[in-house]
Amino acid sequence: MTTTVAKAIEGDEGTDSPYALSHLDALESEAVHIFREVAGEFERPVILFSGGKDSIVMLHLALKAFAPAAVPFSLLHVDTGHNFPEVLEYRDRTVAKHGLRLHVASVQEYIDRGVLKERPDGTRNPLQTLPLTEKIQAEKFDAVFGGGRRDEEKARAKERVFSLRDEFSQWDPRRQRPELWNLYNGRHAPGEHVRVFPLSNWTELDVWQYIAREGIELPEIYFAHEREVFQRAGMWLTAGEWGGPKDGERTEKRQVRYRTVGDMSCTGAVDSDATTLEAVITEIAASRLTERGATRADDKMSEAAMEDRKREGYF
């Protein structure tokens, strides 16, 4: 008997019924329901896995949803070629530990073949869309789990849990299906696919609290550590072969951590002393900056940067 069960039987004088779930339990249960719906209704689902905290939480939820059986999905990583080495190491270790199958769509390979051209600003984030969508078509994935959350960005606040993409992987916000009760509609024509966002209703803080509650291991770059960084467009970027620092940019050693994991050329570090999960949670709860505002250069390109990339098929 667990404490929650005892509480339920004894009754509770509090404001909530004893049968009310804590917010993390409610979010977890909803996400698991979404994973199981996809397993029940689709032929070839795949989980987008970057080694970032959201995709790590997605994988954790999928493991719980189907335990003691294996996760009935493979993983897909869009490798920009500018990844943090710690994250790639984490990715490969996780895939091996759970006996999963990993697909990789490589931006570098597209650049080497001359299909994609390096941008003058060096960021590869917008270049991910083509390798991603071509991999989805080539592997005939019909459901693609993404770790996107509606609290991240105002275009994402409009996103459905089940989001239909046409044969060009495009998102049309005007033609979204209403989502009623928990009756998700995954119907799609051959060539189309559905992007599925089990963490839609989670916030950055929920993700961190859940990581703490479940004791989930993360790549070290999420915790404060000393790192060689330099400043560009108001952000601390990690120096490296990907193209920084350039003339006039000076590196320095700073105590930093990352709030998001992405392409090194556009993912900034934040000054931080938070070396534990508890310290990270306290820091985020007090922060006056959103996760993306603090650490993503590409979202600042225009007022509709995220919407425009999403329309093209970005995750």
């Binding site: 009310a20 909803e30 189907f66 009756l183 900056l289």
Partner: protein
């Protein structure tokens, strides 16, 4: 809005850990002050952060506006900003030390019925705003009717713009009384009226200094304390089977678990259960709550149930207590809201998704269309177009274990899907439309006898 960049106290880790979640929806009308109320809630709960506000300030300045346009915070799409309209439901998130909130922010413009139905379908509370100067208007009654149709457990009437009626109690009292009477007649179980000024901040987060005649909670206090789950003793327990878990490994050679999210009520180990539609009976041998064995599990928990007998069960089946099984039927009568642009017509062949089961179905009859303004029934409309609410008779290709929506929002609801292109056509609620203080009588069967 005042004090937009003033920092507030961060929450402690303990405060954040065991809060509950409330899903609520706003019923939007144009110019009722909804964006201001949403803006104030988001702002005062620290959900508008500096970089978001700076982005709004930049965008507003580049348009030549003097003050930041807070609508830019919530209008997330290019087309919305260009046209100054809100296209679709957006979901927003904020938290207080006591509770987490998911707000379905529904636009008040065209297509409001389907948007409000979408928002209200997952909401435990609906906020209906009225302008204190105008009182209960047609739109207010329409919002109350949709909340009643969707059986949202709690309704808040926020009487806004009290500052424009000199904060006078009689103005509020008259509106509250008129609305409560109307909502109660529709069967809304719980109505709370709160006088507010979203612009000035009265009774939104802080108690009003100018309305000392009001002794109730502020809007946020009410959101924080309203009960979020119900007494399960009156609920019929229901578990739609989503997926069969069979590891077939050396460690678990015989494990066969039926995974699903409990739609209503609770289940206990040892309980006698029946599987529908087959009607086979067995007992619950074990319940796994995401890897942890438990003795009891209840509504909205995602679980895996193990049964004593090896019987044939697959996705789409419904596990229920043997002593409390719903009837199975192929003929469903329901109130529906049509959410697609193409009309729903008699003879329409559709797919019906109920719980985890999707079956073929045909629209046999559309006996009436409801006029939300005065709740009158328009007989035999022939079709339902976008945003119409009507009564529909549907014949399903297989028997379905449906509950009345009044008894169970999860197992009494369904959607209709276009089999050709997959469009979600219609939201359906089985059984009577509105809760009624008196039993609803079918006039065609009234032969004058009084038993």
């Amino acid at each position: 809005m005042s004090s937009i960049t003033e920092p507030i106290e961060p929450l402690s880790v303990e405060q954040l850990s065991e809060t509950t979640l409330l899903r609520f929806a706003t019923a939007g009308s144009v110019d009722d002050g909804k964006s201001t109320l949403v803006g104030r809630l988001l702002h005062d709960s620290k959900s508008i952060l500096t970089d978001q506000l700076e982005a709004v300030q930049r965008a507003s300045a580049s348009r030549g506006q003097d003050a930041p346009d807070l609508a830019l915070l919530t209008d997330g799409l290019r087309a919305e900003r260009e046209q100054g309209i809100t296209i679709d439901v957006a979901y927003r998130y904020f938290a207080t030390p006591r509770r987490r909130f998911i707000l379905a922010d529904t636009p008040g413009h065209v297509q409001y019925t389907r948007n409000m139905v979408t928002g209200a379908s997952t909401a435990e509370l609906t906020v209906i705003l009225v302008d204190a100067r105008n009182g209960v208007v047609e739109q207010t009654r329409r919002h109350a009717a949709i909340a009643a149709l969707l059986r949202v457990p709690h309704v808040v009437l926020a009487v806004n713009k009290m500052d424009l009626v000199d904060y006078r109690e009689p103005v509020f009292a008259a509106i509250a009384e008129e609305f409560t009477a109307y909502a109660t007649e529709l069967g809304v179980p719980d109505v709370t009226a709160i006088p507010i000024s979203a612009l000035a901040g009265d009774n939104v987060v802080e108690p009003s200094a100018t309305m000392d005649w009001y002794g109730g909670p502020t809007f946020l206090e009410h959101l924080e304390t309203v009960p979020v789950a119900h007494d399960l003793s009156h609920c019929h327990a229901r578990l739609p089977v989503q997926y069969v878990i069979r590891p077939q490994t050396a460690e678990h050679p015989d494990y066969r678990g039926y995974a699903g999210q409990i739609a209503a009520g609770s289940f206990r180990v040892g309980e006698s259960v029946t599987v529908l539609p087959s009607g086979r009976a067995t007992k619950i041998a074990g319940i796994d709550l995401l890897g942890r064995p438990v003795d009891i599990a209840w509504t909205t928990q995602s679980v895996t149930v193990l049964l004593e007998d090896d019987i044939d069960i697959s996705r789409g089946d419904l596990i229920v207590p043997s002593k409390d099984a719903p009837p199975t039927t192929q003929d469903i009568e329901a109130t529906v809201c049509h959410v697609a642009d193409a009309p729903l017509t008699v003879g329409h062949r559709v797919l019906l998704k109920h719980g985890t089961r999707t079956v073929k179905a045909i629209v046999k009859d559309i006996p009436s269309r409801l006029t939300l303004d005065d709740l009158s029934l328009h007989p035999h409309p022939g079709q339902l177009v976008a945003n119409d609410i009507g009564r529909v008779k549907i014949r399903a290709a297989e028997p379905l274990p449906v509950d009345s929506y009044a008894d169970s929002r999860r197992t009494g609801s369904f959607i209709l899907i276009d089999p050709n292109d997959g469009t979600t056509l219609t939201a359906g609620m089985v059984g009577e439309s509105f809760a009624s203080p008196e039993p609803v009588r079918d006039e065609t069967e009234d032969d004058g006898w009084d038993f």
